[in-house]
């Protein structure tokens, strides 16, 4: 169901948009994914994920002021929406809850 579930890459991109606030746009998100998560993506793939998230209502966007770079072209700046933030919180919470329920012994196990 659209809007209720997001994939791993989508979650990652959502996080990056949050991290990069207020400078999240195609290229910066791509760079950050590479730097922080070691995920090397083509720029078009990043665009695709961003627009998909926008369609799901987790991101919103506006055009930036033009600068001299990029031939005077504006960037599309992505921001988290309330739904996007909630979605991040929910996944984070779920993760933490589940992580806390892992038996300690299981984490101490070492492979020989």
């Amino acid at each position: 169901m659209k809007g209720t579930h997001i994939g791993e890459l989508e979650e990652l991109v959502l996080l990056m948009v949050g991290v990069l606030y207020p400078e999240a746009y195609g290229v910066s998100v791509m760079d950050e994914l590479d730097k922080q998560a070691g995920r090397s993506l083509n720029i078009s793939a990043v665009h695709a994920v961003l627009t998909r998230l926008e369609d799901k209502g987790l991101l919103e966007s506006k055009m930036s002021e033009p600068t001299d770079a990029r031939g005077g072209r504006r960037k599309r700046i992505f921001l988290l929406t309330a739904a996007g933030k909630r979605s991040l919180e929910e996944t984070n919470e779920l993760r933490n809850q589940l992580y806390n329920r892992i038996p300690r012994i299981a984490l101490q196990f070492r492979m020989a």
Partner: protein, 882 residues
């Protein structure tokens, strides 16, 4: 310089990418390029290209504009288009007038000519089954040429029907006959009578307003008359059942009244008599080898006329050959040989008017060539007008550069601008069309007078015509508006806003080509008009070989009966008369002369076709004919007065195989029983129109001839006519006195050509006018564009002459180019046209030169008018405005 991303991938991106995403996508791609290019230009190029390809996704691809921007055609926007369009028209009133009226005039001509062409093409289609009706004609070789008869003998129709089942019905009519009809005090010579079979009215779908079409022509001595005909005799009384007295057929009973034969018919009989009124036709011998009956066949729906036509030669073998053999008393082989060039053919009813050009048509037919010529003329004029419209619209673009720039920078799309200009040009076209319809309706009576047609206003108001008018308006609007629309909307926003004038608006290649095209057409039309005029003039002034002036022709000589000679003597005694001859009229169409087959070597039906003139002894003198050999017919020789001696023309002498040394005393064989001796030869004279070659003819004496030719030597013609009429009445002829002048009849010979010529001249003038309007508009515009330049030139010391020359030069060069294009084309076309005449002029190079000079002068006057105005203007005013 900063390295730039590769051009083609970038363009590709701009092409496919949806506009609302383009900026961010292109921005990101460029940013990445800028980052990588520091290391390696090649790698950066590759990377950029790769990215562009990766961006090529469904989500990013441009779809219909509608998806992103609604309301492109909103009412508000359309209102705005109308408003700005109207303001633009009003701002330059003269320019708009030229634009609209040029188009309106062009459309008017187009409409009028189209109505003419439509009318020509619609002939005989009033008959419900016209597609299945065919006329039988007869072709045979004679005099080294093909003689073509649109009618056949009395038995042919019935013969074809009985032999071939695909022929459902046949019907016959005799063509125009004359007779004297009497009712009470009314006694009139009727020309348009015909004997017709009883099914004629039904087959041609001629409805009767009184009487029953199925039975009206069944009984002998029945007559079905037109409404006008009935009114002439019976006034407002009901005509049905009334009795008329005919000189030929006795009492005729009116059994039906029809309104009138439609204008677009190849016959216009005023009354139909039942075929069996003439007992000799119905009860007499049913022959095949003569002509005289216009015979129409109704074919079965699935019948193939070509296949039927291919079967007809069998009928010649079956019926014509035995008949000839009997009549001429010759052997079977001779009879077969004599008819081996005979051929019955079928002519579709709807094609008779435009395609049948035999010498013996019921009425003068139209000509498909005229339809083509006028059709081409109409399209040319329309094209000229459209070109004007295009040229003037694009030329006025400069004034609208700012508007376009502002519209674009406010977010207009190109498609919106195109729409705007198309809407504008369509509005103009519609205005022009409205004017054109009004003009056409106003001019229709004059046009009808010119063409001799009766096209009614109702033609223009019928639903199909109105629909096609609207379609025409839209088409013209689109045609004329597309180029300006595309051209105007292509201006670069920044450039028009900055410089206030879009580049290339003063001199555009397309516009030059169009001007050349316009003037080429105009020049060609001038050439055509001059050549046609010369040819016509040549025909009318060709030495006819006789003296047509001051000759009064008195008709109906036969009506005087026993007083025929007395009347002639009375005329001769009149001191105002120099000669009188009782003879055949020497001017007419070839079909009006009787003729027969003769030979110089014994009886032979396939000899020379020769026209026979019935004359008396005074004919040569009265007509001023010149005897080259032998003597005139004279009452001193008994064989002359018996009609056994003849005088022939030079052509007959040559065609019969004689020359000056042996012609006199030679024998002309008409048949085994009838022979003539040649006693004299006259110089060839044109007894038909000079369009045709002179044909063989012979003159023989008969006491009875249809007319008196009276050569008068007085200027007081009207008194002479009054006296002659009194003389006629004194002899108690039961036919009214009627006469005409020979030279009037002569000018009738060229009426068709004169009409064509007149129409052509009118439309040529209009075409040139339209071309000039265009040139005028363009030169106005050009002068306006160069106001500053001219001002500066004047300040720096240019003379008025130099400036006029400067401005006129470019246009004159175009006109010169047009003349070069037009000269060979028009020469060739007119050469083809001249081939249709028996006697013709050759085209003089000076004609083309003259036309060229005329075109040049017209153009010069048009252009220099504006050029002078600009050159005379005070430079202070033009320069201060800066």
């Amino acid at each position: 310089m900063k390295p730039r991303p590769p051009k083609w991938p970038n363009r590709f991106l701009e092409w496919y990418c949806r506009p609302d995403r383009l900026e961010e996508i292109q921005g990101d791609a460029h940013e990445l390029f800028d980052r990588t290019v520091i290391a390696s230009k090649f790698k950066a190029d590759l990377y950029f290209t790769w990215n562009v390809i990766r961006f090529f996704r469904w989500r990013n691809i441009r779809r219909k504009t509608k998806h992103y921007y609604s309301n492109q055609f909103s009412a508000a926007m359309l209102k705005n288009y109308f408003k700005t369009g109207w303001r633009n028209l009003m701002r330059k009133k003269a320019f708009s007038m030229i634009n609209v009226f040029g188009l309106a005039i062009g459309l008017t001509c187009f409409l009028l000519i189209a109505s003419f062409v439509y009318d020509e093409l619609s002939y005989d289609q009033y008959a419900a089954q016209y597609k299945r009706i065919y006329r039988v004609g007869l072709q045979l070789e004679q005099n080294g040429g093909v003689d073509d008869y649109p009618h056949v003998d009395v038995a042919v129709g019935a013969g074809i029907k009985s032999n071939y089942p695909e022929v459902v019905e046949f019907t016959r009519a005799t063509g125009n006959l004359f007779d004297y009809l009497r009712y009470g005090d009314v006694n009139v010579r009727e020309e348009g009578l015909t004997l017709a079979d009883s099914n004629f009215l039904r087959l041609f779908s001629i409805p009767l307003i009184e009487g029953n079409a199925d039975h009206a022509l069944t009984e002998p001595n029945s007559i079905v008359v037109s409404r006008a005909f009935a009114k002439k005799y019976f006034g407002d009384k009901p005509a049905l059942g009334e009795l008329l007295t005919s000189r030929r057929y006795g009492t005729l009973k009116v059994t039906g009244v029809f309104d009138k034969i439609p204008d677009n018919s190849h016959f216009h009989y005023s009354a139909f008599l039942s075929m069996n009124s003439n007992a000799r036709i119905t009860n007499g011998r049913q022959t095949w080898s003569n002509v005289g009956f216009h015979t129409y066949l109704l074919l079965d729906e699935h019948a193939d006329p070509h296949r039927l036509e291919a079967k007809l030669p069998a009928l010649i073998e079956k019926y014509v050959v035995p008949e000839i053999q009997d009549d001429m008393g010759i052997s079977l082989a001779d009879a077969q040989r004599s008819v081996n060039t005979w051929k019955f053919y079928l002519m579709p009813l709807s094609k008779i008017h435009l395609y049948s050009h035999t010498k013996y048509e019921i009425e003068a037919n139209g000509d498909i060539n005229n339809v083509y010529i006028f059709g081409a003329l109409a399209i040319f004029i329309l094209l000229l007008a459209c070109i004007n419209f295009m040229n003037l619209s694009t030329a006025s673009a400069a004034r609208r550069g700012v508007e376009i720039g502002i519209r674009k920078s406010l977010g207009s799309f190109r498609s919106q601008l195109v729409t705007q200009f198309l809407v504008e040009s369509m509005i103009l076209a519609m205005i022009a069309l409205t004017f054109a319809v009004v003009f056409a309706l106003t001019l229709l009576p004059f046009f009808n007078q010119l063409t001799g047609k009766q096209i009614g206003i109702s033609f223009f108001l019928s639903a199909p015509v109105l629909t096609s008018l609207v379609v025409l308006g839209i088409t013209v609007g689109l045609l004329a508006g597309t180029y300006p629309a595309v051209f105007l909307s292509s201006f670069q926003t920044l450039r028009v806003l900055k410089s206030n004038s879009p580049g290339g608006s003063r001199r555009s290649n397309l516009r030059s080509v169009l001007v050349v095209f316009q003037f080429a057409i105009s020049t060609a039309l001038i050439v055509a008009t001059i050549v046609a005029y010369q040819q016509l003039h040549f025909l009318q002034n060709i030495e006819m070989g006789y003296d047509k002036d001051q000759v009064v022709v008195v008709e109906n000589a036969g009506a005087l009966g026993g007083n025929m000679d007395a009347f002639k003597r009375k005329l001769e005694q009149d001191h105002r008369v120099s000669h009188v001859s009782h003879a055949t009229v020497p001017i007419g169409n070839a079909g009006s002369y009787g003729g027969t087959e003769v030979s110089s070597r014994g009886p032979n039906p396939s000899g020379t076709h020769i026209h026979i003139f019935t004359v008396d002894y005074d004919f040569l003198e009265t007509m001023g004919l010149q005897l080259v050999l032998g003597r005139n017919l004279s009452n001193e020789f008994s064989n002359d007065s018996l009609g056994l001696n003849v005088v022939i023309n030079e052509t007959a002498m040559k065609n019969l195989g004689w020359d000056e040394s042996n012609v006199l005393g030679s024998t002309i064989y008409r048949s085994a029983q009838v022979q003539y001796q040649v006693v004299g030869v006259v110089k060839d004279f044109h007894y038909t129109s000079a369009k045709e070659k002179i044909a063989p003819m012979m003159m023989l004496y008969r006491r009875v001839a249809p007319t008196y030719l009276v050569k008068v030597k007085t200027s007081d013609i009207s008194n002479f006519i009054t006296d002659t009429k009194a003389q006629w009445n004194a002899f108690h002829a039961d036919v009214p006195f009627s006469y005409y002048f020979l030279d009037d009849r002569f000018s009738h010979l060229y009426k068709a050509e004169q009409t064509t010529e007149q129409i052509f001249i009118v439309f040529m003038v209009i075409a040139i006018l339209i071309a000039c309007l265009g040139l005028f508009g363009l030169s106005t515009h050009s002068a306006e564009q160069r106001t500053r330049e001219i001002g500066i030139r004047k300040v720096l010391g240019s003379s008025v002459g130099q400036i006029v020359l400067l401005q006129s030069k470019e246009f004159l060069l175009l006109v010169l180019a047009a003349i070069v294009v037009a000269a060979p084309v028009s020469w060739w076309a007119m050469h083809q046209w001249l081939q249709t005449f028996g006697y013709r002029i050759s085209i003089d190079a000076t004609v083309i030169l003259l036309a060229g000079v005329a075109a040049l002068v017209i153009a010069l006057i048009t252009v220099s008018f504006q050029a002078f105005k600009a050159a005379m203007a005070n430079p202070v005013r033009s320069l201060r405005s800066e």
